[in-house]
């Protein structure tokens, strides 16, 4: 496959996950798209054949940096994440979430996760990366990815059941 095709396929496959991954970092869609464009432009300046083997982690790692650059520029304040030590049974962080459609509710919850965990959720479920690839993107160990992702999942699961059980507001 020539580099042109590699890039074309990569865009086809990862466009959405990359943009939404970047969106999680930048907080606005335009910067997220910019970051992804920049990622692909950088890819096109690389020896594509050499990267091809580890293309997915490469893309997400570079995309993450681009998105962080954007965020640094824009002085964007990330929403304060939900911490793990939130006691069970306390009020859900976002009461409004209850009233939302299920998907919207879930998206909201994902966004309320601490940044690192949220990134992992996106990398796993939207981009479909393996733990190994995720560890390359986040520059952490594979086992740390496993633990962090599990923490994220536990928090999500708890919030999900909580918001589900809470009575809908009038």
């Amino acid at each position: 496959m020539n580099p042109d095709q590699v890039i074309r396929e990569a865009l086809l496959r990862y466009e959405r996950p990359l943009i939404s991954f970047a969106l999680g970092i930048t907080g606005d869609i335009e910067s997220a798209k910019d970051a992804v464009q920049e990622t692909f432009l950088r890819l096109s300046r690389q020896d594509v054949a050499a990267i091809r083997e580890r293309l997915a982690p490469w893309l997400f790692f570079v995309c993450r940096n681009c998105a962080l650059d954007h965020r640094r520029k824009v002085v964007h304040f990330p929403s304060t994440g939900v911490t793990d030590d939130l006691p069970d049974g306390s009020d859900p962080p976002d009461v409004a979430a209850v009233r939302m459609e299920e998907t919207e509710r879930l998206r909201c919850l994902v966004n309320s996760l601490p940044e690192g965990q949220r990134d992992l959720i996106r990398l796993k479920f939207e981009a479909g990366l393996s733990y190994r690839e995720m560890s390359e993107v986040t520059r952490t160990s594979v086992s740390s990815v496993g633990v962090q992702l599990h923490n994220a999942m536990s928090t999500l699961r708890r919030l999900w059941t909580n918001t589900e059980k809470s009575p809908a507001h009038p």
């Binding site: 996950p17 997220a32 690389q46 299920e102 599990h150």
Partner: protein
């Protein structure tokens, strides 16, 4: 249930053996099984979770792919080159090892090596990793990369390292040489860290077109396009090294704004050079650009400071033109505030104002850059608001069209007189894509010609950051294109926006060649000044190709220098040549030029001495000495005229007044000139900040719009930056 295996199992990340074990536990532990079920359900939901807007439009995707394949073409060439280098370097290395097996070898750890090796600092006695760790070719390649990334300092370091390990390395030597050029020309642009600290440039695209030597620029054209990318609103400063995980110094950011360098004028001897000729310039952009830099806490690059634009930024109270004259001419002189031995001669033109009911019908084409690089808040959004100010002032009969350009250009709004339509079309503009300025300019001009109003004000208003990166990107080609269109009777106004990748040099040249004016809009206030307060001046030309020629009388003048207008000087023959393009004056515009004159009894500073000429007859003895110090001649054409008319004024040698008796307009303009020269480190100029402030403060006058008061603030800020 704090067992990571739950998640790992749900997403299929457990090894076969672990999985079996875990499944056994699941069968036995009811809680674990419930938890597992919930997790699996959540996984399903998460997999279906997609961000609704997280995709490109077809056009964005196509533009991106085409830029990528352009890059690939460039990269392919580079990779080939790199491989050749590596082979050569391996040869050299082998030779080294054979020839000097026991001599102390330079052990090289590039500043990235420790980071790559896991962030550890090499131990006091590192294992001899020898040259192979970083062969010359590697260093050269990195040097090249740094060079292209605009990091000339690091590039030169790499090339030096390559030379240290392989003194014969031609590529390294050549690299080092080419690095020196930008390092020197951009010595003051190493004020870049300054800019970076001001946050102007943090995370700006790498690479710079400005400091490349001309020859290089051509050969690298393709790569320039790549690097100064229009999307590059947030290109990381780490450039191509990001993916290697290597930490470059975080402070390193770049500015790829392009400013031409300008040599301050020198003193010329009146005997050998009695004539000084220049084209007027009503641009004001340079002042606004410098203001942006200063307000952000850094000194503007010298090339961005054009003295005449500082002077002409301010409105002055000058005598109104009488009768049908397009402008009035004022000449006066006083001792120079920065050097009492010298005289400061002012030539000031005041253009006729056009009351709203006397304004010709307008046919305006807004040519709006909507490329990705325009997305920033100080670009397209500011542009929209500024143009709104203009649209509100338009008359019923005026027509406006909008042409947008990005990767492709198109007519966003056909010429119309309905303001609401224009406003809504303007508000709908969105940015995205690369910048094909050339194509947009062609379309704008052809739209202007199609809707041409005879005797009216036909004008293209180009709004951009000047970062044309697709299609015709070469400055001279763009200028050619504009020059061709000039004869169609369509004028051009250039409005510059934004920071970071702003191409001042391109913009100024376009306006200069396109019968136009050029303003830089850094804030809504400035937008309102240019398109509101002074809209008539921006839009209605009352005289074009305005040239000034001054003849100095050597009997009273030893020498002189024109302050500012360095890139507007003309050959003396051009003055009477109506084919030579020159500057335009808009309604109500004023133009002020200063000469610093050295009286006949003083010696010229700053010039090397030239031996006296042997064969020139001295005219002094033959004719009675004229009492004139100088004669000012002015040529100009009516906006639609082809032939110029000539006006002359003389200034008597004894007309020099004390500075305190000059009008405010004289002294304030002198202060503006002094400020600009100070910012530019003009070697023939010396005046301290306080003196400039005093001069300006004493000449504030009415100050409509508060521009002069703002000037004081600016000087004060510059002073505080100068003396930390």
């Amino acid at each position: 249930m704090n067992d990571p295996r739950i998640t790992s199992y749900a997403v299929g990340e457990l090894e076969a053996a672990e999985r079996e074990a875990f499944e056994k536990e699941l069968a036995e532990n009811q809680d674990l099984a419930t938890c597992m079920k919930e997790t699996a359900a959540l996984c399903d939901r998460l997999e279906q979770l997609v961000e609704p807007e997280a995709f490109f439009s077809g056009a964005e995707r196509d533009a991106l792919l085409s830029r990528c394949s352009e890059n690939l073409k460039v990269a392919r060439r580079r990779i080939v080159r790199r491989r050749v280098l590596t082979v050569a370097a391996l040869g050299t290395l082998a030779a080294c090892l054979v020839l000097a097996p026991f001599s102390p070898l330079t052990i090289y750890f590039g500043d990235r090596a420790p980071t790559l090796a896991g962030g550890s600092v090499p131990s006091p006695a590192p294992a001899p990793r020898v040259l192979a760790d970083k062969p010359a070719a590697e260093a050269v390649r990195e040097g090249e990369d740094f060079f292209q990334a605009g990091r000339y300092d690091l590039a030169s370091k790499r090339f030096n390292q390559a030379l240290a390990s392989d003194p014969q390395n031609v590529a390294a030597r050549r690299g080092l040489e080419k690095t020196q050029v930008p390092l020197q020309t951009y010595a003051d642009a190493s004020a870049m860290p300054l800019m970076a600290s001001a946050g102007v440039t943090s995370g700006m695209p790498v690479a710079t077109t400005a400091p490349m030597p001309a020859g290089d620029r051509l050969s690298r054209n393709a790569e320039i396009k790549v690097f100064s990318g229009g999307w590059g609103k947030g290109t990381g400063s780490r450039g191509r090294f990001v993916e290697e995980g290597a930490a470059l110094p975080p402070a390193a950011s770049f500015n790829i704004e392009a400013y031409d360098s300008v040599e301050p004028g020198r003193f010329l001897e009146a005997k050998g050079n009695p004539l000084s000729t220049f084209s007027v310039d009503v641009d004001t952009a340079s002042y606004a650009i410098a203001r942006r830099f200063i307000m952000q806490g850094s000194r503007p690059p010298r090339g961005a400071v054009r003295v005449e634009e500082f002077i002409n930024y301010f409105p002055y109270e000058l005598p109104k033109p009488s009768g049908n004259d397009p402008f009035s001419i004022t000449t006066d002189a006083a001792p120079a505030p920065w050097n009492p031995d010298h005289q400061l001669v002012r030539v000031a033109l005041q253009g006729r104002d056009l009351p709203p009911d006397a304004r010709p019908q307008s046919n305006l084409i807004f040519l709006v850059d909507v490329s990705g690089s325009m997305r920033a808040e100080d670009k397209l959004p500011l542009l929209k608001k500024s143009l709104e100010a203009l649209i509100e002032r338009m008359g019923e009969r005026d027509r406006i069209a909008i042409v947008v350009y990005a990767g492709a250009s198109g007519l966003a709004l056909a010429p119309t007189s309905e303001k609401t339509k224009v406003l809504s079309a303007l508000r709908d503009l969105e940015s995205g894509g690369s910048t094909n300025g050339g194509e947009g300019i062609l379309l704008a001009y052809s739209t202007a010609r199609d809707s041409f109003i005879e005797g009216g004000n036909n004008r293209v208003i180009l709004c951009s950051d000047g970062d044309f990166n697709v299609g015709v990107t070469n400055q001279s080609e763009l200028v050619d294109l504009i020059e061709k269109e000039r004869d169609s009777g369509v004028f051009l106004s250039v409005l510059g926006f934004g920071s970071g990748n702003f191409k001042d040099s391109t913009m100024e040249k376009l306006a200069d060649k396109g019968n136009g004016n050029y303003a830089y809009i850094d804030s809504l206030k400035e937008g309102r000044k240019v398109l509101g307060e002074q809209m008539a001046g921006t839009l209605f030309t009352i005289a074009k190709d305005v040239k000034v020629q001054v003849e100095f009388n050597p009997a009273h003048v030893a020498g002189y220098r024109l302050i500012g207008y360095e890139n507007r000087t003309l050959a003396k023959e051009d003055f009477n040549d109506d084919k030579k393009d020159a500057g335009e004056i808009g309604a109500g515009h004023s133009v002020t030029a200063f000469y610093e004159v050295v009286p006949a009894d003083k010696s010229l500073p700053g010039n090397g001495t030239v031996d006296p000429l042997k064969y020139q007859t001295s005219p002094a003895s033959s004719a009675p000495v004229s009492s004139d110090m100088l004669t000012v001649k002015l040529r100009s054409k009516a906006p639609d005229g082809q032939a110029s008319s000539l006006v002359e004024r003389t200034l008597e040698a004894d007309a020099v007044r004390p500075l305190s008796e000059t009008p405010d307009s004289f002294r304030f303009a002198a202060a503006a000139a002094a400020f600009a020269m100070k910012l530019r480190d003009d070697p023939l100029f010396s005046m301290d900040w306080d003196a400039i402030l005093r001069l300006a403060r004493g000449a504030l006058g009415n100050d409509p719009g508060g521009h002069r008061a703002e000037f004081l603030t600016l000087v004060e800020r510059a002073r505080s930056m100068d003396s930390p």
